[in-house]
């Protein structure tokens, strides 16, 4: 499989503090790839660099063979990377459908076409029946799925999910895992997720990268990862006890 | 023109600037703590100026002495305003808070217009034309008193926030709203106190300014804007910044009035504002925005 997103020797410091240090990995096209790590491991920093919120101090980020590091968030989206926010940010006074139409308008020629696309996405994410509600009236699990729907409506080649399961109950987590798996299976969409919830990662990801103190300490299948001594010590050990 | 003229104008601008600074200090304190921009600031100052005019014309009370009672009146007004109207707006969007204060400003300006009419009022003290000769300089006595009084009030406010337990509590609110709630501070009351203090500053400044310029109701919006120019130039939320900004704008206006035409002087203040907004949005003494 070709590599869709390539992170090469990426580092980022904030006022002298190293948040991400010399991280390298590749996300194969069509895969579901997870980055995990304890709090403060640099996951969100890494995510924000891919999404264009800020540029790395050194190293390169390439998407579909082209450099994207240092590009603006809107350009990165136009190139085919959709993202969600860890703390969901729907447009509160717009309806669920209008929220998704905003995303769909990126690739669709006009509003009716975007509406059609938005409704398809809303069906995929079990939000179709709630499409006329104001986004501010939704429950947290619904808002999390709206966030995914809005990003999907931009028709990305790569979907970046920032702790999309955080704060959800296990049944809700399973529901969103099923939806994501189905979309990946049906459309071949590549997904990169940053996660804290191991349950989701184990059943969803085909490959996992473990970050600790800003550095990549292990990479492999979920099954292999949990047996790595470094991982157990630094992350799972602490969390599991 | 001889150099003394420039120096005289500069000193005059500096003294007026100190009064401006005190006025802006009120705005800065309110914003720094309550995070609400007081769009009725200049209007509150014209109210104070009219109070001084009335006290002077009715009872021959010197505005410099009346500074304290006028500041007290404005304190009560500010406290009541924050308690009654603004506190419920703390969590509302910025533009909503802004409209609330615009409404208050409109009512103040036009209320004053109804009561006092559109004509300019002034205060003629016995020392209005006195001046001191300091070497080659001739310094206007009124402005000197006003400038010194402004420094005194500002110093008292600094001391309050630095040393008084209440001042420290207010600073705690400003730094961390939730934290202040958690440790049991009555944030709403502290906000009201802060707004009252800011209003008191502008009240004191108004009492001094009435010695320097004539007051009309329409002065309100212009001085609101001037207070913003000063506070943004100095750094929104920075107390020394307000004074530095006030002096800078005061001197700029004075110099522009001398070198160009007095009617164009505020243009230079706006030019400074635009440059600061574009190139140093945190202001001269403001902290770097994250």
């Amino acid at each position: 499989m070709a590599v869709l997103l390539e992170i090469a020797n990426v580092s980022k410091s904030f006022s002298g503090l190293r948040a991400v240090s010399d991280v390298t990995f590749g996300v194969p096209e069509g895969s579901i790839f997870a980055v995990i790590g304890p709090n403060g491991a640099g996951k969100t920093t890494l995510f924000n660099m891919i999404a264009g919120v800020f540029a790395p101090n050194s190293g390169t980020i390439s998407f579909a063979g082209q450099r994207i590091d240092g590009r603006t968030p809107d350009e990165i989206c136009r190139r085919g990377i959709g993202r969600t926010f860890q703390l969901v940010r729907p447009f509160p006074t717009l309806t669920v459908e209008d929220n998704v139409i905003v995303g769909a308008l990126l690739r669709q020629p006009d509003v009716p076409a975007a509406t059609k696309r938005a409704r398809e996405v809303l069906r995929q994410l079990d939000l179709f029946d709630k499409r006329a509600q104001l986004a501010s009236k939704l429950t947290l699990p619904d808002r999390k799925r709206l966030e995914v729907a809005r990003a999907l409506a931009t028709e990305p080649r790569l979907l970046l999910l920032d702790e999309v399961m955080a704060g959800l109950r296990p049944t809700e987590t399973d529901r969103i895992v099923e939806i994501l798996k189905k979309i990946n299976r049906d459309t071949g969409l590549t997904i990169l997720l940053i996660e804290h919830v191991m349950r989701a990662v184990n059943s969803l990801a085909s490959r996992v990268l473990v970050l600790h103190h800003g550095a990549a300490i292990a990479e492999g299948t979920p099954e292999a990862i949990v047996r790595e001594p470094a991982v157990v010590e630094s992350y799972l050990g602490v969390e599991a006890v | 023109m001889p150099a003394e003229i420039y120096l005289n104008v500069a000193v005059s601008g500096l003294l007026t600037g100190l009064v401006y600074g005190l006025m802006a200090l009120g705005l800065s304190v309110i914003f720094g703590v309550v995070r609400v921009v007081n769009f009725a600031h200049g209007e509150m100052m014209t109210l104070a100026m009219y109070l001084a005019v009335v006290l002077f014309s009715a009872f021959k009370l010197d505005p410099l002495l009346m500074m304290v009672p006028i500041a007290a009146v404005l304190f009560v007004l500010g406290y009541a305003l924050q308690m009654g109207l603004i506190n419920p707006f703390i969590t509302r969007p910025e533009h909503s808070q802004f409209m609330l204060l615009v409404a208050i400003a409109i009512i103040l300006v036009n209320g004053l217009l109804i009561v006092f009419g559109p004509d300019a009022r002034s205060v003629q003290t016995s020392y209005a034309y006195d001046s001191f000769a300091v070497g080659p300089l001739i310094v206007d006595a009124t402005k000197t008193y006003a400038g010194l009084a402004a420094i005194a009030v500002a110093a008292a406010l600094f001391a309050f926030f630095r040393f008084a337990p209440l001042g420290k509590a207010i600073r705690a609110c400003a730094d961390n709203y939730t934290g202040a709630l958690v440790v049991g501070l009555d944030v709403k009351r502290l906000y009201a106190l802060t707004f009252g203090l800011g209003a008191a500053c502008v009240g004191a400044a108004g009492a001094m300014l009435v010695l320097i310029i004539d007051v009309t109701p329409q002065l309100g919006p212009a001085y609101t804007l001037l207070a913003f120019v000063i506070v943004i130039t100095g750094g929104l939320g920075s107390m020394p910044g307000a004074l530095v900004g006030g002096v800078l704008i005061g001197m700029t206006e004075a110099m522009a009035g001398l070198l160009f035409t007095p009617s164009a002087k505020s243009m230079f203040a706006f030019a400074i504002l635009v440059l600061v907004l574009l190139f140093r949005p945190q202001g001269i003494l403001g902290k770097q925005l994250s």
């Binding site: 968030p73 975007a114 | 208050i104």
Partner: protein
Amino acid sequence: MRSLLLDGVSRRVWIALGVTLAVLLIAPLIVNDYLLTILILILYFAYTAQAWNIMMGFAGQLSLGHALYVGLGAYTTAALYVHFGLSPWLGLPVAVIVSALTGACIGFLAFRFRVAGVYFAILTIAFAEFARIGFDHFGWVNGSSGLFLPVANYTQSDLWNLRGKPVMFYYVLLFFTVAALALCHALLRSRAGYFWQAIREDEEAARSLGIDTFRYKMYAVVLSAGMTSVAGVFFAFYYNNLFPEQVFSISRSVELILAPVIGGVGTLIGPIVGAFLLTGLAEVIWEFLNAFGFDPPGAKQVFYGICLLFVVVLLPDGVWPPLSRALGLAERPDAPDDKPEA
């Protein structure tokens, strides 16, 4: 494909709009001169309210200096008419271009240098003040001594030169107000409308969806500035005199935003309803005070202030959203719609 103009408007709304328009069309035949001047004032504020609403209500950019664009429109067409006898209809495109370019400059500076929120609002006031002082010293338009348009006692209305009786201005303004409503309606349902609302709600989230927020904010400013300047043309030819002190003053800018805020920022009908309520009520109160021989300057404005205070405290979304629900004319009902899928 359904037309942008017709989409999403219920029959009840059409009837309500139709009846209102019909009443407004025949109004000059019924009302006296005094009421006509008030209707003209109402339409003037209804028009400027809609123009301002594009920038703040749709795109979320708070401008407090919109008197700048009214003034530029007024001065451009008036000066061209006075100096070259150019018809205001030919001066209009020039005025729109001047205003739009000015808006573009302010927008460019503000958005490129990330001046936002309250700072942006203050920047817009500062530019209006710049213009006020600048025009005070601008000899070609007579500076602070004011620019006057020649007036005569008109027996006939000259539409081409906008010289004539109030009733002509009334119909011109009615036309522009209706045109602005149609435009706003179409805009809100267009790509730009969706993107503007996204920017208004959450700019960072909007960018993450690929929206070039700088570009769309610029569109909003340029369009709003250009539209506002049309009101200036009317202002100049209706009042026949222009003083920088009055035209560009902060209170003019504040006056412009009262109607949309009271009616409902971001709604289509709200700004118009706001203009009717505010100006209409103010006149009633004014008459009432007059009847008691009490008519100090500023009384009307105090009333505006109290209205604004009342609405801001009690109806944070403005008068129109709750009113429209009560009348069954809501622009966006909360219940799921039963429209067939597109």
